[in-house]
């Protein structure tokens, strides 16, 4: 470089020198610069280009969990563009910073404001509007008019059949609000408020907008539908293992990891703004391993790439666990690991063994009650063996200490000097016994049930009031399960790593295709690094592993790795699950608003997947019977039962919510209960027992049990998440569809749930879609309301990727006739109040409530022993063996007033999050000053919630993460229960109150709060469970520790008591051959991962993203598969199976493994979707090929961590097990 410069310098000097007298301006003596005067007229152009009316802070508000703060520019009253904010508070020295955050998708958003896809006015389906106007001409009362429209079957079917076929016409705001209001009033009055539903996901990304509608639906008495489990983003293993919905490290904590595995998570594509931490950590010496069947983008960053066959990740992790247990727990005992699992996991806890087929099987946790304790919570106090004395010992911290008076100060992980024995091996009085364990790698030919094999554990005899029981520890069971042999134990064991028996590296190679030596080495390195670094080994998990039917099983094998290696609760370590995860950090305040808890409790909250599975009648086509999943060691609990039968049992046992609840309007039921003079719960119990009252789910197709009104906002249900999309169209909406499946044949139909020969089509009276852009939901909706975009309203955003809370601010007022979600629902509330007199007035509503997590309800099912009141195994006791039945008074005439004011219950009854109570007395008074009070009417004197800013202020004031006083208050309450010092985590910020203007000025770091399990105290990076590890606060589980073993009856029944491997469902066997015989066809695994050019359907329709990608629907396939059907790159192909059909262009890429295709998630039908040859209809969406399948263990409840909470536990809307047939189609397409 220098020599070149030196050589040319002489020439340069000569040229400059020679020309200097002709050069305008003054040449400096060193010949390096020339100074000219003027000539800057052109500057104006550039200065004008960057002159703006204003620059406001906003962000992108629904599905993207990036929560990047953006500058939005307005010029001449028009939103011009956006750029990344760069003012995130620092994460401290020796670490990269968060700023700038943002990706090309976010940078393209402003396109939507004035785009052709923008919805500018309210629209109604023409047929419906005509019918309504005609009816209103006859009966001027809007509610009566709506009754007339839906009361006439012919009219109702006419507009239902028009759904998705255009014909939307403009209407005025007053008119659409009147129709929607009338539909709600009519439905509540005639069918019951539990027939009203609302769907809106991910509140964290725009809390006020979410809460606005949630509040309306909840105050109506309708039900909000869960989304986290429905999106299959909820890792059910998290409640199972941690008793926590999801809690994970922020992305800056990746920097602290020294060994990072990205498992089915394509960080550069799906977490673009955060990926830099991973790339940067590599320069710090971090080793990066990716696990992905395809050559995913993140593999470019990786030191090692493991490519297991899709869905076999569990096998790989089991083999890695085998290596970890053998080398770090048996051959050598790493002190750190042993101490960790003794203190923070259930490994030392005792489990009884039960005789089975002449051998033994693991049964239940030993509890204090087994030792003769009859005290409070004894059945939920689990037991270890004191290594010093060899006697059973009941340590603190289990569920039995959590709620009662006697447990105060003892719900903690302090072992108080006792050293629990991890294993019983070699202890006096123990014997080696054979245990039978299920395995699912064999016996897959005729079912999913697998086989079993014999292993051995050391067992001791324990005398209990019920007689002598054989017991062992969870650790001993784990070694047996993983096949790690120890001398002196009976059973069949693998001879070494190269013996292909469960669960050795050689065994996994046959299943996953990953070389045995590689699995062994990575497993060893992961643990070795954790040992050397003090736990800084991390696994980032993604949808690639989380969207399978058996993802809970897969995840438990991962969580076993991170827990065994003592990485949970350590900065730079642990699990890092980033799949549609949403961390609504100010969760307490948001929940008050979103469910109207400040006025009425309890709200109705429904499991999304359960709702759609039942109401779209997918159960009628489901041939996956519950017993097909049962382990060969099961007790036949599922014999002859279909999935919906297990759901019905879950509903009547109070495990999971189920709305619509009964075959009767709950308003009428409440009147009857009052008239009877009995306590309402007793009345309902008697009615149920007498068979005069039935759960709606027992006969979901009966007309009286249909859902009637559904409002979708901030979501694109029918273009994105609707797994089994064609079934939605057929049964829920009653319009044209491409369902190709036959209903389940006789013999595979439900045993308990009523089968009606004629399946209903068109259950919904009204589908309302609120969006700023046209989506499939809008196309199929009856009424489409124009919403404000994310740059046109006030709101709040948080994420788990970073620790800040920041604001949405309107850059412009909502243009055309658009309105913010907040204003729309406020107006709707007022409209319902106007229409209610004479129809609803003040009514009592009988609400059935499931047994809830983090409440004493979770002690309803001791030992997880399932007893069904219907079969007479147990008496029907509301709140114990059945749901609770609670009377709620609803003043419908005051609904609008309640919507726009903060009710008294927040302060009077307090607020509870995850079992931690908060009392916001001071805050409510403060809010009255800050927001002002309502001057008159029903809510006179209450703090105002009339505007979105009021809502944001209220959310911030009522949450510990944004209000130091409440954080300290919550910690104090927790100190009382745990007896451990905690308040100091927030004490330094007790006086800090984050207000809405603060969040508009700059992203504000949140306060450490008992609402979450990590700590930001002292500026440290957030990681999950460090409060549990450092402050000995128990996990919210049965033992209070992280669980390897789950002893619920149904977990045992399907053979998943311990971490195990289950292959993807064999849908080919289940559903039969899907070939049509037309042309050359190939059957492939059908996966729908996330795209680089969209966040769900958002952005895939954005012109910029369409230009950057190929655009339109496309299916990625391998050259081998493409060759098999004779398709070339970019040619049209058609994919079909029993669920439906989709047409797309083929992208032929060597990135794809043979036998697997990708159709990126959420290809909506608004861009370039031609008609299919197969159905003749417009070509479907990615979810036209998927359908719902329920796993019974996701719907258990009432037992410790396996209890319901909204978005915490529920059946997942999984879709990865699906297969499809593909063929090359005619290249002439018709639109």
């Amino acid at each position: 470089m220098t020599t070149v410069q030196g050589a040319s310098s002489a020439t340069d000097d000569f040229l400059v020198k020679a020309a200097r007298f002709f050069t305008p301006g003054t040449v400096s003596s060193d010949l390096r610069t020339v100074t000219k005067v003027g000539g800057r007229d052109g500057d104006v152009f550039y200065r004008d280009r960057w002159s703006h009316d204003k620059v406001v802070r906003s962000t992108h508000g629904v599905n993207c969990t990036g929560s990047c703060s953006w500058k939005v520019y307005v010029k001449d009253g028009i939103i011009t563009w956006e750029t990344q904010q760069t003012d995130y508070p620092t994460v401290g020295p020796d670490s990269p910073e968060y700023e700038p955050r943002g990706c090309p998708r976010g940078a393209a958003f402003s396109w939507y404001t004035y785009s052709p896809t923008r919805v500018r006015y309210p629209y109604v389906r023409g047929v419906l509007l005509e019918a309504y106007r005609a009816a209103k001409a006859v009966t001027p009362d809007p509610v009566d008019a709506w009754a007339a429209v839906v009361g006439d079957p012919e009219t109702r079917r006419r507009y239902q059949k028009a759904r998705g076929k255009g014909g939307l016409v403009r209407a005025s705001w007053p008119e659409v609000l009147e129709i929607i209001g009338a539909a709600h009033v009519h439905t509540a009055k005639v069918h019951g408020p539990d027939r009203i539903f609302g769907f809106s996901p991910i509140p964290a990304m725009s809390m006020a907008s979410h809460a606005a509608g949630g509040r309306f639906i909840s105050l109506m008495g309708g039900s909000m539908l869960s989304f986290y489990d429905w999106y299959c983003d909820l890792p059910v293993a998290s409640p199972q293992v941690f008793g926590d919905q999801t809690d994970v490290p922020e992305s800056a904590d990746w920097w602290n990891a020294s060994y990072l595995i990205m498992w089915g998570a394509n960080v550069p594509v799906t977490r673009t703004p955060d990926a830099h931490f991973m790339a940067e950590a590599r320069y710090r010496g971090q080793k990066v391993v990716t696990v992905s069947p395809d050559y995913a983008d993140n593999t470019k960053f990786a030191d090692e790439w493991m490519a297991p066959h899709p869905g076999t990740d569990g096998a790989l992790a089991m083999a890695m666990g085998h290596v970890v247990l053998k080398e770090f727990f048996v051959e050598r005992q790493v002190p750190r690991f042993v101490d960790y699992v003794k203190k923070y996991s259930d490994l030392p806890f005792l489990v009884t063994l039960r005789e089975k087929q002449g051998s033994w099987v693991p049964d239940k946790f030993v509890t204090s009650a087994d030792l003769g304790d009859e005290g409070e919570g004894a059945a939920f106090k689990t037991v270890v063996v004191d290594a010093a004395t060899g006697r059973p010992h009941v340590p603190n911290g289990s569920l039995g200490f959590r709620f009662g008076e006697a447990g105060k100060g003892k719900w903690n992980l302090d072992l108080e000097g006792v050293d629990p024995a991890l294993s019983l091996l070699g202890a006096s009085g123990t014997e080696g016994v054979e245990v039978l364990l299920p395995r699912f790698d064999v016996g897959q030919e005729d079912g999913e049930g697998g086989g079993s094999h014999l292993r051995g554990v050391p067992a001791a005899r324990l005398t209990t009031p019920a007689g002598e029981r054989l017991v062992t520890t969870v650790f001993d069971l784990m070694l047996a399960q993983y096949g790690v042999p120890r001398d002196g134990l009976p059973g069949q064991w693998p001879a070494g790593y190269d013996d292909p028996e469960p669960y050795t590296p050689a065994w996994q190679e046959e299943i996953t295709g990953v070389p045995a030596a590689m699995a062994e080495r990575i497993g060893r390195e992961f643990a070795q690094n954790a040992e050397d670094s003090g736990g800084r080994s991390m696994i980032i998990l993604g949808a690639g592993t989380n969207h399978w039917f058996h993802s809970d099983t897969i995840y438990r094998t991962f969580l076993a790795l991170v827990t065994l290696c003592g990485t949970q609760g350590v900065n730079g370590g642990g699990w890092a699950h980033y799949v549609g995860q949403e961390k609504c950090r100010p969760v307490t305040g948001w929940a008050q608003l979103a469910f109207g808890l400040d006025w009425q409790r309890p709200p109705r909250q429904m499991i999304g997947t359960g709702f759609w599975y039942v109401q779209t009648d997918q159960w009628r086509y489901d041939r996956l019977g519950a017993d097909l999943l049962a382990s060969p060691l099961g007790e036949g609990r599922f014999a002859g039962r279909s999935m919906i039968d297990t759901m019905a049992q879950s509903a009547r046992s109070g495990w999971m919510p189920s709305y619509p609840q009964f075959d009767r309007n709950p308003l009428d039921l409440a009147d009857e209960a009052e008239a009877s003079g009995m306590p309402p719960a007793d009345y309902v119990r008697d009615e149920l027992k007498a068979g005069r009252l039935a759960f709606a789910i027992d006969d979901p197709d009966a007309e009286g049990n249909w859902p009637r009104v559904l409002t979708v906002w901030r979501a694109n249900l029918l273009g994105s998440s609707s797994k089994g999309n064609e079934f939605f169209l057929r049964h829920l909406l009653g319009t044209s569809n491409a369902v190709r499946a036959d209903e389940a044949p006789e013999g595979e139909r439900p045993r308990d749930v009523t089968w009606r020969d004629e399946a209903p089509e068109g259950k919904l009276d009204l589908l309302v879609s609120i969006d700023f852009r046209m989506t499939s939901t809008g196309l199929f909706g009856d009424i489409l309301l124009p919403a404000a975009t994310w740059y046109e309203k006030h709101d709040l955003s948080t994420t788990d990727m970073h620790p800040y809370v920041h604001a949405f601010t309107p850059a412009i007022d909502p243009p055309w006739e658009t309105r913010s979600d907040y204003d729309i629902f406020q107006a709707l509330g007022r409209k319902v109040s106007d229409l209610a007199p004479g129809h609803l007035d003040v009514r009592k509503d009988l609400v059935s409530v499931p047994l809830l997590h983090d409440t004493p309800d979770e002690m309803a099912v001791p030992g997880g022993v399932v007893r069904d009141w219907r079969s007479g195994e147990v008496d029907l006791v509301p709140g114990l063996t059945a749901p609770k039945f609670v009377m709620v008074e609803r003043d419908y005439t005051a609904l609008g007033a309640k919507m726009s004011a903060l009710g008294p219950l927040a302060a009077k009854a307090g607020m509870v999050t995850k079992g931690v109570p908060f009392s916001p007395t001071v805050e409510v008074e403060e809010l009255a000053s800050r927001n002002g009070v309502i001057p008159d009417g029903y809510a006179a004197g209450r703090p105002s919630l009339a505007t979105d800013i009021h809502a944001c202020e209220t959310i911030l004031a009522l949450s510990g993460t944004t209000n130091g006083r409440l954080a300290v208050q919550g910690f104090r309450a927790l100190e009382e229960r745990t007896g451990m010092p905690l308040a100091d985590l927030a004490l330094e910020e007790e006086g800090k109150r984050i207000t809405f203007p603060d969040t508009q000025a700059r992203p504000v770091p949140v306060i450490t709060s008992p609402e979450w399990s990590g700590s930001e105290h002292g500026g440290r990076r957030y990681t999950a469970f460090c409060i549990n590890v450092e402050r000995l606060k128990p996990w919210h589980t049965l033992t209070g520790r992280q669980h390897f073993f789950l002893d619920h009856d149904w977990m045992t029944e399907i053979g998943e008591g311990l971490p195990t491997f289950r292959p993807p469902l064999n849908l080919n066997r289940l559903d039969g051959d899907q070939h049509t015989g037309a042309g050359r066809e190939v059957t492939v695994r059908y996966l729908t991962p996330h795209s680089k050019w969209s966040i769900h359907s958002e952005y895939q329709d954005n012109l910029f993203m369409l230009s950057l990608s190929r655009g339109g629907p496309e299916i990625w396939m391998s050259p081998q598969d493409a060759a098999a059907i004779g398709a070339k790159d970019n040619e049209w192909v058609e994919a079909y199976n029993r669920n439906g059909v989709v047409v797309a262009r083929a992208i032929v890429s060597h990135r794809m493994p043979a036998g697997t295709v990708y159709m990126y998630h959420a290809k909506d039908r608004t861009v370039d979707v031609p008609k299919t040859e197969t159905s003749g209809l417009r070509g479907g969406i990615h979810n036209s090929l998927t359908r719902l399948m329920i796993k019974p263990t996701h719907i258990v409840g009432g037992y410790a961590q396996l209890s319901f909470a909204f978005n915490y536990l529920g059946p997942t809307g999984n879709q990865r097990d699906e297969i499809t047939v593909i063929r090359r189609r005619s290249q002439e397409v018709e639109y």
């Binding site: 000219k36 005067v37 003027g38 800057r40």
Partner: protein, 244 residues
């Protein structure tokens, strides 16, 4: 002398000059941000690295050839004792090489433009039209060189007809009869050339006027004084009086 001759050899040249000059001024005045070649080097590098220099060096040589052939009267070269044969040998030798380079370069550039997807996508209708004019002028020019030199046909001394006519235009004493009697091939080439110059100001060809020759003689760092403005480079506007 027909009306056609007047039209072609008197009117058309002056129209060409008028359009060329006013068009260029107009373009400079109103389309400074469009004054660009719209370089496609980002999309394709391999071919352009070879083709572009060949074409540009060729066309510069062609320009020099035209200057010598058209502007310098035969009498001057005679006075310098350059014989007709010698002159021809030189003109044909250099002219053919330069012309061939130019043609080869432009063909390669067009081939590249047509076959490289992103480059073709960045090609406007204006560009395509310009290429027709440019290639026509080049091809016809080569043809005249071949004819004039006698390689094809009998040879023709254009310095007795075309060159004096060309100079007469600028001396404001047009002599269309000189052109009228020249060979049709020269006539067509001249018309094609004039059409190219008419199109010139409205195409990317304007970049010829902003070839960055100054870079060679200029220091690397250029400072521009703000001049007489008080603050920044934005002209003062109506508003509050400036303080201090």
């Amino acid at each position: 002398m027909s009306a056609k001759d007047i039209l072609l050899w008197v009117v058309l040249p002056y129209v060409t000059i008028a359009v060329f000059v006013t068009g260029t001024l107009w373009r400079y005045r109103y389309d400074k941000f469009g004054w660009t070649t719209r370089s496609s080097q980002l999309y394709e590098r391999r071919l352009i690295r070879i083709a572009s220099p060949i074409f540009h060096i060729g066309i510069l040589a062609v320009v020099v050839g035209h200057v010598i052939g058209l502007l310098i009267p035969e009498s001057w070269t005679d006075a310098a004792r350059v014989s007709e044969d010698m002159y021809h040998l030189m003109a044909v030798g250099i002219g053919l090489v330069a012309g061939a380079c130019t043609l080869f370069g432009v063909v390669m550039l067009i081939y590249r433009r047509r076959t490289t997807g992103p480059v073709f996508a960045a090609t406007t209708r204006n560009d395509k039209t310009m290429y027709v004019f440019l290639v026509a002028a080049i091809c016809l020019g080569l043809l005249t060189t071949l004819i004039g030199s006698g390689i094809v046909g009998d040879g023709y001394n254009y310095r007795e007809t075309v060159s004096p006519w060309f100079r007469s235009i600028f001396l404001l004493n047009p002599q269309p009869e000189l052109m009228a009697e020249s060979l049709p091939s020269f006539q067509i080439h001249a018309v094609a050339g004039m059409l190219l110059f008419i199109a010139w100001p409205f195409t990317r060809l304007v970049h010829a006027f902003s070839a960055p020759l100054g870079y060679v003689f200029r220091p690397y760092v250029v400072y521009r004084d703000r001049g007489p403005h008080d603050s920044g480079s934005r002209p003062s506007r109506r508003g509050w009086e400036r303080v201090g």
